[in-house]
Symmetry: C2
DNA sequence: AAGATAAATTTCGAAGCTAAACAGTACATG
DNA sequence: CATGTACTGTTTAGCTTCGAAATTTATCTT
């Protein structure tokens, strides 16, 4: 792929084909299971492409990915769409300081409001505004259209199997904790 | 999930279970195919977890994700592991300016060298150093161990099917260009 | 030789995050 | 009831990473 044969794959930016990439992996790293690598690489690429698509869609609505995450957490919390900053921070994996900054921006843009909890004045309540909810809804509409198109070629059976297998993989990652060496030791 | 029933799922930071999340999606957004959403959400979560794992592993080796990307591109380019900054930038989706900065750091850390191409003195050649290659190799060893563990529960047949289906999805995203509305129009 | 083109770097600034110090509130305990 | 302790959220200061635009250096064209 240096400059001799490999101008074949047409990916994002001269990115090699999946098969080309796996061949390169095998060339450079012998003890590699091509089948495993194919699954993992495909997962990774697929997700990158999906994120690019989602990013384009949310950008078209004038919100960043960071803001999208907050909107999503609030909507999924259910009516009346209120959460505390620390709960949000925990959910999104941020420090409280970073959460404060994000909320600052989103308040300034009218996506959410921030007020003190009168029953416990230490706490703060972040509440989703109608405009924020509308943006989330519109983003969801765009996303579902994209997702249906993406899965278009899969039969009902294939969808079922794919969902089941992915869920099983997810369970394995979520219910297991990697030890010092990175191995997944089962907890069940 | 506001605060009444939903303390069940034990994800990253109080993250709801996949099924809980899908139920919430359906509650807030009626025209949603739960099967599609399950696949997409599982894909997304799986990838997030994998990235966390990879991040921990590379961090243990003292390199950032950004540096990991550069090492990977150089190794996969094959011996003698040389690329120009602009080619790297295109591959990684960065501007040339950002690429210059990254290379600065990596040269300072002894992972790569940077020298002018004597045959065309406008160009620069970034070359992988043995230390960089060693880091890549060690990261690959860790990654493959993790990946084997991840796919442990899948039968040979399931691996074959999963690889095939994911490849098909990937082809659909890579060979199609979303139009203005975000739809994937097939190009084949 | 003169301009056009191209590659890489430099400069400047923006975004986003964190750590640590700080302020305000609630609660427990004597 | 008084006070210490714990907790929530914000502020401040600084760091890292990236990008846009201008700049430098070299090559190519005519």
């Amino acid at each position: 792929m240096g400059d001799t044969p490999g101008t074949s794959g047409a990916g994002l930016g001269g990115e090699p084909t999946l098969d080309e990439q796996i061949a390169a992996y095998q060339r450079e790293f012998q003890d590699l299971d091509p089948q495993v690598e194919k699954i993992v690489s495909a997962l990774s690429r697929l997700n990158r492409r999906m994120n690019v698509a989602y990013g384009r869609q949310t950008a078209a609505l004038g919100i960043s990915n960071a803001e999208w995450e907050v909107l999503k957490a609030l909507v999924l919390s259910g009516a009346p769409y209120r959460m505390g900053p620390s709960e949000l921070a925990k959910r999104l994996g941020l420090t409280p300081a970073a959460m404060t900054h994000r909320i600052d921006r989103m308040v300034a843009e009218g996506l959410v409001t921030r007020e003190r909890d009168e029953s416990n004045r230490v706490r703060v309540i972040v509440e989703l505004m109608p405009e924020g909810r509308d943006k989330w809804l519109e983003a969801m509409r765009l996303a579902t259209v994209f997702e249906e198109d993406l899965l278009q070629d899969l039969s009902a059976d294939e969808r079922t199997v794919l969902g089941e297998v992915l869920t099983r993989l997810l369970r394995r990652v979520e219910h297991a904790q990697p030890d010092a060496g990175g191995r997944l030791t089962d907890l069940d």
